[in-house]
Symmetry: C2
């Protein structure tokens, strides 16, 4: 288990601001699941909100609609293979946590599991907007708790050291970009 610290909710948008691919975990009525999502973003600072696309055909959709909750987990580069795997198989066909040997831990505010090995975690409660959920598969949610691996993100900031763990950005066809060098604009 890696060290993780709570993230100030006023700064939690920074876990997503640079556009990493995330893993959406969910739990409802004794079932749990995790899927990959390249399509998520912050929506507001305070209270912090996020937007994420959750396809109507996924088990995740069923669990999120049932529970009104999910977690956005920010995977590390080491988890790219896992990210691809859980984005390629339906939770209806395979209990992905067991099949992939994914270790989890409990959040504070929601029941959905948090995945070990990630860099950051956003516990989210769905803001009910049935029209856009139904029409666009688009879910809005309030972030009610947030956590980060202190090797990657601490005191509200990403760690810029060369050997800090990196997040990932899905492209297509199994290809990702790693999050690259940090720099200050104009420098």
């Amino acid at each position: 288990m890696k060290p993780r610290l709570p993230v100030d909710l006023a700064k939690c948008y920074r876990l997503l601001n640079h556009g990493p691919t995330v893993l959406v975990s969910s739990e409802h009525d004794g079932r749990r699941n995790v899927m990959a999502a390249a399509w998520s973003m912050p929506l507001d600072f305070s209270p912090p909100k996020v937007a994420v696309v959750i396809d109507r055909n996924t088990l995740t959709r069923q669990l999120v609609e049932g529970s009104g909750e999910f977690v956005l987990n920010v995977p590390s580069r080491e988890m790219a293979g896992l990210t691809l795997a859980v984005g390629s198989v339906s939770g209806r066909e395979s209990e992905k946590f067991d099949a992939q040997g994914i270790a989890v831990f409990a959040g504070e505010k929601v029941k959905a599991p948090l995945l070990e090995g990630c860099l950051g975690w956003l516990e989210c409660r769905v803001i009910s907007e049935p029209h856009i959920q139904h029409t666009y598969d688009l879910f809005l949610a309030e972030v009610v708790a947030a956590w980060a691996d202190e090797r990657a993100f601490r005191n509200g900031h990403w760690v810029f050291e060369e050997d800090a763990p990196r997040s990932i950005h899905y492209i297509a066809g199994g290809n990702f970009f790693e999050t690259g060098e940090a720099f200050e604009a104009g420098k």
Copy 2:
């Protein structure tokens, strides 16, 4: 002027899939503007749609609501300083194109200007959803034309060569991540 090629609309989501920070350009009634947006994402493949947060206090908001159109421009690392600058000043105080010496060219389907030096361009028409526009500053749009600098993106794929131009990912406080190394999951 750099070489740019049309992007197949079925592949245009890939310009945004990895979560780069974008510049939102707009034009209405003789006024034009450009602002930075870290909060945008693809929303659908076909027809391609995007989502972007446009604050209610911006001139961009006024121009986008007036025209029903905007362009998402994907800036290069070289444009990080400009991205920060156009994200820090209101278009009501400064005609940013003139003040920043920004060169533009015309799109094919919308009137909003396309910024020279970017890696990709998505011409967008707003899908009217007044409730979420008003409540969350969230705009959905259909992509009606797309373009890319062929040094960065061609034949529907990002160019993975070491010296290909890179996109950028805003963090906070003037800091960005560069888009890093491309890799195939599991390799």
